[in-house]
Symmetry: D3
């Protein structure tokens, strides 16, 4: 018998993109349970309220087993401990991602020496994608249908009209 | 019941350093079995024969459960499949590591679309350490006792005398 | 007979620097027409109004043939299409520029698969220069006369007094 | 009337990959003539002779108009001048590419102040691809059919058997 | 007889961390006098007033000889000249630090061609540490006792209660 | 009274370039004595013998006071100790330099915890310059007169004829 393996995938997800969803689909293959943790993150002044950001992900991952989407507003390491997770998952698109995430990973290890950060490679097809870029393009009237889940695209259309 | 999770940690390990051992200790906590795969890698003209490189790791990981150290000389993705592994583990020390490993990870995904690469953060205390640097310092008579397992240090002393 | 080749050089230009002007001088040699496109960019809270930013460039490029300076406030790819341009020009000073511009270039290709981004190397003598740094130094009373066109320098002097 | 615009795309191309071909297809859209310049480059000990490397590209670009494939073995800036080219084209996949190519671009500008280097973004689908990686994978028996033109793939098969 | 060597170590220090203190301890070994220059920096909206930021450093460096902690609010090169310093000291943790600091160093050389910037390596144990991260963790109730001097830790506790 | 401050500037210098000379001129302003340490470095298969590489630098720095040029072939930290130096000087041109030099600096601190590495910024005008590039261009018949000291340029001319 083997222990249940839980991993945490944290982020602001404002809003979730197809790149995030791709990573979730990859990560659930490697662990027994994946907890997607949606940060409140008031300092970033998110466009969508936390509740809405959670719901976007719940809708977009409907068919995926072993996934749990939850809001949080505390230290990530404490939240991970409360979920009995031993690993934090992060996607790495670029060098600038890497340096920031390395810093965060070392800080999280400083706060909890047993907490490992695992970096995964998103699909190449989404390597240029970020939530900020999606918002910028949508704000200028560009088409984001192939960049975000249908529910997110729909919401942007409602905002505009 | 959950499936057994196997990960592969590949490298030339010429020779294994304390940084590699640290990563192995972290990785065995996250998976049910860790296969350390020692590449033949004739193009790099290794200082130590493959067999010796395997033995160094076997000796240095004696106390670790769920670890298997094996030589290989084929495509990494094929080797990983033969071990029923779904994930390749790599340590990331620096940006230059990251770019090379990202390239390899994408190529491995091209060869086997189900094979994920997971990057882990080595202990900060070994972030400057590499097999090449160890060989260079030992070659100039420097002390490497705190950089490699005892068996490797001993072997360098025998070479010199 | 060959077709007319138009390239777009977009930016906020708040304000234009000698580094930007150097790049314009290089780019007009390579294309039949260069359209300098000055973005409204309200999110960056520019110091100078868009109209003023356009005028600074018009004044500084007076002697250059085949150059057109225009304001815009829409998706860059749509603007480029309206100008019949097939290439977007960007200057690359540093790795951080590169990663951001690579992301933008891939996004623009996603929005218009025929739109190429061409990165050019600014003169070494201006490799440290940015609009933000110019504003910071001028704000602290530093001399920017060798960093910006005369009209921009003059305007900063008027602001101060 | 406008002048004819010629650009040079230099490299060792040992062998040409689908990533190189993709870049050629993009570059011929932007210039009136593209000269693919295949360097002798004895220091890199190429696997294929220069003549063969030229032929691979000639075969793979058969349908492309306005392209010329030629060997060279001199200073790139002198070769470009002899072809009346004002621009050197290079593909940028990663930060490490960028730094090396920036250095080369500045050196080439030092040797000929009118010679501009233009960096282009290869297709994302080939961002992990390099001639060295192709040779390594083919050497280990991996499938490279989707990474190189048919002629190159065929030649690797002949070598192996 | 040799001249007195003065170096400047500038920053916002909002607040000073153990990483900054480690760098000060290293720098005072190399120069006859080290001037720690605390910038007003209103654009960054510091959490602590300039006076308080100076005091934190004064308290934390009590045992160090040849160190002077002073506020400043002008061009760094002018401030350095007023202190008769020929070198600016900066710590480099990561590539992103490096690019920004390289830009600043070149700009400062542009403003004063005799002013050299010297980059030093902070202790590995603090390579992930930044003032912003400290504020973020303290804001979420995390323990920062091993990341900042005692006086800073005490002040954060007072803020919270 | 203040102590004499000695710094070491190590390298292979195969051959010395104007970029190296520029850095020496800057470094001697900051320390009482600068020891230029020319490594034997057989692994790099230098083009010029160590003795010749030393002589090139001696000739090019004739007018500079407080500089000493010496060959060495041992651990750098041991050599620095023998010269009573507390600091190693390195030039940083690019991110790739930075990562390699950071690794070396941390390793040297591991071998001697009192040994600091100081990174300096070379003149922008030489930021693209390296000994390898000089050899490559000279080998292809290019003009290197503005890249190296006169003695080095002369020697390349003799080799060619």
């Amino acid at each position: 018998m083997t222990a249940q393996r839980t991993a945490i995938y944290p982020g602001t997800f404002d809003p979730v993109t197809n790149g995030h969803i791709d990573l979730m689909q990859r990560a659930v293959q490697l662990f027994d349970r994946l907890v997607v943790a949606v940060a409140l993150n008031p300092k970033k002044s998110p466009l969508f309220p936390q509740e809405q950001r959670v719901q976007f992900i719940v809708d977009a991952t409907e068919g995926l087993a072993n996934i749990e989407v939850v809001p949080f507003n505390c230290l990530l390491t404490e939240f991970a401990q409360s979920k009995n997770a031993k690993a934090i998952i992060k996607g790495l698109r670029a060098v600038s991602d890497f340096e920031f995430e390395l810093q965060m990973g070392l800080m999280n290890r400083n706060l909890d020496e047993k907490m490992e950060t695992l970096f995964m490679i998103p699909s190449q097809e989404y390597s240029f994608l970020s939530s900020n870029l999606v918002k910028e393009i949508a704000g200028l009237g560009g088409n984001i249908a192939n960049l975000v889940p249908p529910g997110v695209n729909q919401r942007f259309k409602e905002i505009k009209s």
